[in-house]
Assembly symmetry: C2
Homo-oligomer: 190 residues x 2
């Protein structure tokens, strides 16, 4: 096995997605993923805490982008403007080049409960990032929690529409639409 080839982590992630798509998540062992990447099982677990994580590497970047974007907003910004800015800041993850990869990855996740469970954990972490950034702006407990959930919902909705087969529009535009629609729905709930 040729050691010392670069990008071990990336090779593992890409081998994993390939194998999951072919044989399913449960039908693939960590040792097989490592082998396809030309690495050993122990090396796999040195790069990823567990077998699920290989599909979720880099998720934290989105949460950090959320928080950074909100911190960059003027103090006068309304909750809605903060959310707009946060969601827009995640656009780096949803360029056209990435779409095919993201679609394939999502199909694998949707197909397996264990992976959907991990996705929920990641989503919760994104929502928590929104919530704590909103509280830093002085929002009250409940309003921060609610606004964070609305932001999370808009993010999910925009994501779902972005990866839909029929879609040709950009993520940023979809996110703005989703958020506006949810805000008016919120008004009707009060």
């Amino acid at each position: 096995m040729a050691r010392w080839e670069p990008n071990a982590r990336e090779r593992l992630a890409s081998s994993a997605l390939d194998l999951f798509a072919e044989r399913g998540y449960e039908g693939t062992t960590a040792a097989e993923i490592a082998a396809r990447a030309g690495l050993a099982k122990s090396t796999f677990f040195r790069h990823f805490a567990d077998k699920r994580e290989v599909l979720f590497a880099g998720q934290d970047l989105i949460g950090e982008a959320f928080a950074a974007a909100m911190r960059a907003c003027p103090p006068s910004a309304t909750p809605r403007e903060l959310l707009h800015a946060a969601l827009a800041a995640a656009a780096f993850a949803f360029g056209d080049e990435r779409r095919a990869w993201v679609v394939r990855r999502q199909a694998v996740i949707d197909d397996n409960t264990e992976l959907r469970e991990r996705e929920l954990l990641k989503r919760a972490s994104l929502t928590a990032a929104l919530e704590s950034a909103l509280r830093e702006r002085g929002l009250g407990e409940r309003l921060a929690a609610l606004a964070a959930e609305v932001g999370s919902l808009a993010f999910r909705g925009a994501f779902a529409r972005w990866i839909a087969p029929s879609n040709a529009r950009g993520y940023a535009e979809l996110a703005r639409e989703e958020l506006d629609a949810l805000a008016s729905a919120a008004a009707s709930l009060g």
Copy 2:
């Protein structure tokens, strides 16, 4: 080992909570839980799909109660009234007798990421129950999704306050308060 003693499932659940509280979730093996209940490891997994599930048995009843309560509402009910009815219907799970047990259980869950992850899965299932019941009432996609999240948030908030050490109030009352507070927060977001 005395076979055929009744309530194997309950004995397993209670042994599990005891051991988790003593040694932590990760410090406890499934075989140890079974042994304390006077059963074998294979019997444990016959009753619970995995080690985490032993703490979440019966959660689905709450989701079913949500849906049933909404179906029992008059057709004229507003989304807010539907949510009130749903949350109120979950009160059976939060009587005073159960409080000590619930508090102990929650401490164990909060202490372990794996368990928190499973909790998110259960929470998502409750939210989905709310959402699908709301859509049956004719609510649009986004409004149903948003209202379900608000209901879930109110449920979580009421639960957190109910198990707080200083609390002496009942779950139903707390749930109503949380929902009203969130509804007015929602109005301010639109």
